[in-house]
């Protein structure tokens, strides 16, 4: 039995959309017309071991991103806990901490420092990041001039060069061209070989099946299936097909 790297226990998250989403003074002082709660996650538990890739699948709004935010530690759950052992790198969105008006070079530093690196550590990794992002001279141009592909190549290469023990990914392989996608997969495999851990949220069922050892399927915030990724994907496909046939 290898060491657990991510432990999620009985996670429970609820939102009160009316009160907690952009409540203005009027809404707060005035009558609260709606106090209905949305339960984003309920009773979610799983463990991911070191060196394992773990997939999370489910429909839009099933709670996948909320789950990842709890694991990343940016959202405090209402109940239960999510504990991560090791240095975490999160890729929930691309280009976090980037300021588009600044050059790519400057943003590499910003992104790395935002993720918790020291400047010296970014210095050390800079060449590698550059090589991977394939930007060449564009690195000294403002990032707002970048194409979407260039932007995501740089953002992804910063994230991968943080040398994380645990990588949290939210549906980001959808961007970039085919060769970049292949390189990203390779980088993730390298991470797994180094006993790293990956938590992988994706709509691409094929890559979850190919890439992950185990997976869970979330349905309206609850675990609908949990087990080897091939089986979970199969069960999910079946349910989607059934619903499509009905509708």
């Amino acid at each position: 039995m290898s060491q657990p790297s991510i432990v999620v226990e009985d996670l429970y998250v609820r939102f009160r959309p009316y009160v907690e989403r952009k409540p203005t003074l009027r809404r707060t002082i005035g009558r609260r017309r709606s106090l209905e709660e949305v339960i984003a996650l309920n009773n979610v538990s799983f463990t991911v071991n070191r060196g394992e890739a773990f997939g999370v699948i489910g429909r839009n709004g099933a709670g996948k991103s909320t789950l990842l935010r709890c694991v990343a530690g940016t959202l405090r759950p209402n109940g239960g806990k999510a504990v991560v052992h090791g240095k975490t790198s999160t890729l929930l969105q691309l280009g976090v901490g980037f300021i588009p008006e600044l050059t790519g070079r400057r943003n590499v530093y910003l992104g790395g420092l935002a993720a918790g690196l020291r400047k010296r550590e970014v210095d050390e990794r800079f060449d590698e990041i550059m090589e991977y992002a394939e930007l060449e001279d564009a690195i000294d141009r403002p990032m707002k001039t970048y194409s979407a592909g260039m932007f995501s190549r740089l953002a992804f290469s910063v994230a991968l060069n943080l040398d994380p023990d645990v990588l949290l990914l939210d549906e980001i392989l959808a961007v970039g061209d085919a060769s970049f996608k292949e390189k990203s997969m390779q980088a993730m495999r390298d991470l797994l070989d180094k006993a790293g851990t990956i938590l992988f949220v994706s709509h691409s069922l094929a890559s979850v099946k190919e890439f992950c050892d185990r997976a869970i399927w979330l349905e309206r915030g609850e675990v609908a299936a949990h087990g080897p990724s091939a089986e979970v994907v199969k069960a999910y496909r079946k349910s989607v097909a059934k619903q499509n046939a009905k509708g």
Binding site: F15, E20, R21, K22, P23, T24, L25, T28, R69, A72, G73, T74, L75, R76, K81, V83, T88, T90, L92, Q93, V96, G97, I99, P100, E101, L102, R106, Y109, L110, L113, A114, A115, G116, R118, K119, P142
Partner: protein
């Protein structure tokens, strides 16, 4: 880890941990402050020069208003010294309210001490303030060379030995501003209306502070009613200390003590308020 213990050692340990985390990320604070300033001025032709140009233009405006339109006995040095000090605090307030909202992407994706955001904003304002003090000194020099008559313009002094007061005044104002910015940031997350109020708060605060009116006004018949309240304004003792350091006003230790108390109270209260709320911020974004 999520256990809530109320023992003092528990809180002390958490505080020490928090400060350590902030210190570890000092380079990030710096890069964020510089990055935001550069981004703001990236598309302007003058770029970094705006750091100097902003205080110069600000003083020119007031010099025009109070030198020509309403001629008065306040000279430009008096105006500038008060204005720059005020501007530093006003920026902390405006920027603090925006600091969290503008960085929602960072907040939802990464775990770090949230106080970094108001801090980075404050460092950006601090650099601007230090540059503006340089501008003040330059104007003093120019006026000194042009006028050369200390009798007729008693307020055009070079900083005296009291300039060392800056070493106390600036850190104290920094603490005060951080507290104020944190309060603004804390309130602006659930109540975005705050952002609309702040310009008005700043404007009324400017008029209540001894910047465009002279201290002698408080002794006049009209000023008497206001006089007892004037010193309740934390910027009153602060500006007085700065003027002792910068333009040769008499130094009154009482003023320094008074502001130090303000800075400690607002600083500790504001930071505490913000840090206690940190965990909930992500729910409101």
């Amino acid at each position: 880890m999520t256990q809530t213990t109320s023992s003092p050692t528990y809180y002390t340990r958490r505080l020490v941990y928090y400060v350590k985390e902030l210190w570890r990320r000092r380079e990030f604070i710096w890069f964020l402050a510089m990055g935001n300033f550069k981004a703001r001025n990236a598309s302007t032709a003058l770029g970094l020069f705006w750091w100097v140009l902003n205080p110069v233009l600000l003083s020119l405006v007031y010099w025009l208003v109070f030198g020509f339109i309403f001629p008065s006995d306040r000279n430009i040095i008096y105006l500038m010294s008060g204005m720059f000090v005020f501007h530093f605090t006003a920026q902390a307030l405006t920027g603090g309210a925006n600091a969290v909202l503008q960085n929602s992407k960072l907040l939802t994706n990464l775990k770090f001490p949230r106080l970094i955001l108001p801090l980075a904003n404050l460092f950006e304002a601090l650099i601007g303030f230090l540059v503006s003090l340089g501008v003040l000194l330059a104007v003093q020099m120019v006026l000194f060379v042009v006028i050369r008559d200390p009798e007729s313009s008693p307020q055009i002094f070079f900083p005296t030995a009291f300039v060392v007061l800056l070493l106390v005044a600036i850190p104290l104002q920094f603490l005060f501003n951080l507290g104020l910015g944190s309060i603004a940031a804390r309130l602006a997350v659930p109540f975005r209306d705050i952002n609309n109020f702040i310009p008005y708060v700043n404007r009324i605060w400017l008029y209540l502070s001894p910047i465009i009116w002279p201290l002698t006004m408080l002794d006049t018949e009209r000023g008497q009613d206001f006089a007892p309240y004037a010193e309740l304004n934390p910027l009153f003792p602060l500006i007085s200390v700065y003027r002792a350091a910068l333009i040769g006003d008499p130094f009154d230790e009482k003023m320094l003590v008074q502001f130090a108390i303000w800075a400690l109270v607002i600083g500790v209260f504001g930071i505490g308020l913000f840090v206690r709320y940190e965990g909930k911020i992500a729910r409101h974004l």
